[in-house]
Subunit: 223 residues, 2 copies
């Protein structure tokens, strides 16, 4: 398509903002880097894409390498390509968002990293490349999408109480929600079904367990 053939020396990478809710906080997974000039910095898990894989496949691969999880929610966030975003080479990064239920995760410290762990999005360490920017855009997208889709399912175990669900909304949005109004609204959406079972073992009245009717992305009809 180009008028004159252009000799491109551009690399294509993926980076993933992997979120979970843990200890009452929204967390993002970061890896600690070993190479200069970013030794000691943290970064979103990522890597170059291989010749015969799509960016989504690369994101799936990298997600499994760092967390051991499969079959989680994953979507493309966007492509970040500031010319100097990577000091080593001109690299464009196709960023993704992944959402995982905390208990599914078994963190794996790859040989190329110093460390891998969850960080609260409220206090992130210094990040390599443009990853602070990517993380910020990812968080905005997550918050927005919570409002008009059913993505929360991807952060919750198969069965959960309405209080669990409300807590996830409150944590991500950073707001308090009235319990009665929340329940009326979420049930009116007909996304959930009652499992007929109760949560046992707590020192209080047992809560009903619900599940999502569909564990895949649905847009909520605002009209």
């Amino acid at each position: 398509m180009a008028l004159k053939p252009i000799k491109q020396e551009i690399k294509a990478a993926v980076d993933s903002a992997i979120f979970t809710v843990k200890d009452g906080k929204l967390m993002v997974l970061l890896i600690e880097m070993t190479k200069k000039p970013y030794e000691g910095f943290w970064a979103l898990p990522g890597g170059l894409i291989e010749q015969k894989e799509t960016t989504l496949e690369a994101a799936v691969r990298i997600l499994e390498e760092s967390t051991g999880v499969k079959n989680v929610y994953l979507e493309q966030l966007g492509t970040f390509d500031a010319i100097d975003r990577d000091p080593f080479a001109r690299t464009i990064s196709v960023a993704h968002i992944a959402l995982v239920p905390e208990k599914d995760v078994a963190l794996q410290i790859g040989e190329k990293y110093a460390d891998v762990r969850w960080w609260s999005i409220e206090k992130l360490p210094e990040l390599a490349y443009d990853h602070k920017h990517i993380a910020h855009v990812a968080l905005d997208r997550l918050r927005a999408k919570l409002e008009y889709t059913n993505i929360v399912w991807s952060l919750l175990p198969k069965e959960f109480t309405l209080t669990n669900l409300q807590a996830v909304y409150e944590i991500i949005l950073g707001t308090e929600i009235d319990k009665r109004n929340f329940r009326r609204k979420i049930l009116a959406l007909k996304l959930l079904e009652d499992t007929g079972r109760l949560q046992a073992g707590e020192a209080n009245r047992p809560a009903k367990l619900y599940r999502f009717k569909q564990r895949k992305l649905q847009y909520i009809d605002i009209i």
Copy 2:
């Protein structure tokens, strides 16, 4: 970031879905290709990105080359990277959406194309590569964004009547809207201001001319 250095042979391109409203229809700009195997096919304007430009800069450049317009609304749509999307080489395409007011455009048939023209999105010709898919995703995004942002400004001239504005909504959304409800709602958003002037020369009562207070993207508060 990669464990072993990977020899990548991946090219990075941009493609743009350039929309306008013309003759009461939503149109997209296509170029007719000259090279095999896509000779005679139409495609979204695009090209490889250059070493020292960002994808957004490349999209701006290509937009100006094909339409002569500058300073129009342009946003990244997403990256399309199916492995076999381009039969010549592994190419990932960062697709963009551009919105232009029809009267600003002076189409320019570049030397590398057989033809350039507007096509109604209702009846597109056969498209090269995965451009049918990209065009479809672009249209979905445009429709969605019409609902929660003020992007319409980018399709209208500086001054316009409320009827003009309503027509653009109806054309893009493909629905009819009640005139009274539409006016009440759009004015309540406080995005418009009355210019104090009237449209003259029509064989009917002259309509007030309005303009957007801000000609840049704003999100509409749903709350």
